[in-house]
């Protein structure tokens, strides 16, 4: 455990975050965008746990945050799926470029 410095774990989570960001920018499908967002949330979870374990081992605040984030991510994914289904009903497609009613 001591041999892996914190910065390497942070590198993993950073890379995962930006991979998720790449997916967010690139994907045309709303569901795949949702998947990218889940990757980003997970990277944040890794961050919290790592910081808690390495820097502040006497309390477990990071773990609690991680739990809350997992919970909220689940709720958010459910609501997002509901919205996608609703959008699919009105537009008959879940291509994000078809939902441009907020255009100027």
């Amino acid at each position: 455990m001591q041999e892996i410095p914190l910065s390497q774990i942070l590198f993993v989570s950073t890379a995962l975050f930006f991979i998720g960001m790449y997916g967010l920018f690139t994907r045309r499908n709303l569901i795949t965008m949702l998947m990218s967002i889940e990757l980003m949330l997970n990277s944040v979870n890794i961050n919290f746990v790592a910081f808690n374990k390495y820097l502040f081992p006497n309390n477990l605040d990071g773990l609690f945050f991680t739990l809350f984030i997992i919970t909220i991510a689940a709720a958010e994914a459910a609501v997002a799926i509901a919205i996608i289904i609703n959008l699919y009903r009105s537009h008959n497609s879940i291509d994000v470029d078809d939902a441009t009613e907020m255009k100027y």
Binding site: E3, T32, K53, L55, F64, I72, V79
Partner: protein, 193 residues
């Protein structure tokens, strides 16, 4: 270079590889499965960091809940076997560059920061009893209020989802989801096995 480090590197490679495949795969169902693998990898990472409770929660909620939900919605809304439309190459390059720039920038900051020494003064005790006692205490380190608020949030989310995804009232408005179902022939897929 002990086993712990090798294990860590392997798990990290697995996570990142599955993540990259998840965001670049052209078939949507494959992308969902790669996401699943990535999340399992993250759970493995939690196991390696000796926070077993979180790992368990990760698998139960994320893998067993969210990914299943995503797969259901894929089935509901489109033809999962087909390839998805691809984005223009310019956007891909720009996004890749942005992601690389971001990673480099943040990693640079991390490497040059001096406060990340391992604090081995106190032991890190993350078993379930400890988590429960600390989270639900009302005094020091107590997270009971957010706990209750999150339960309210879950309730609100449940109700919200149902309302948003409710079928339209009028019978004569066609619901595309029904038509997609009939085209997908889910039953034949299952029967094949």
């Amino acid at each position: 270079m002990n086993i712990s480090s090798i294990l860590f590197y392997a798990i990290s490679a697995f996570i990142l590889g599955a993540g990259i495949l998840a965001v670049t795969s052209v078939k949507i169902f494959r992308a969902a499965i790669w996401l699943l693998f990535s999340l399992v990898g993250i759970a493995a990472l939690y196991f390696w960091m000796q926070v077993e409770f979180i790992a368990a929660i990760q698998i139960v909620v994320y893998v067993g809940g969210i990914v299943v939900l995503i797969i259901f919605s894929i089935f509901l809304t489109q033809h999962s076997g087909k390839e998805m439309k691809s984005t223009p190459i310019g956007k891909k390059i720009f996004s890749a560059l942005a992601a690389l720039f971001g990673t480099a920038f943040v990693h640079n900051l991390i490497v040059h920061y001096d406060g990340f020494a391992f604090n081995s003064a106190e032991p890190f005790n993350a078993n379930v009893a400890e988590i429960g006692t600390q989270m639900l205490s009302t005094t020091s380190h107590g997270f009971i209020l957010p706990f209750e608020v999150v339960s309210m949030l879950l309730l609100a989310a449940m109700i919200g989802c149902i309302i948003i995804a409710l079928r339209p009232y009028h019978k004569d408005i066609a619901d595309p989801i029904d038509e997609t179902d009939s085209k997908n022939n889910v039953t034949t897929l299952i029967n094949k096995d």
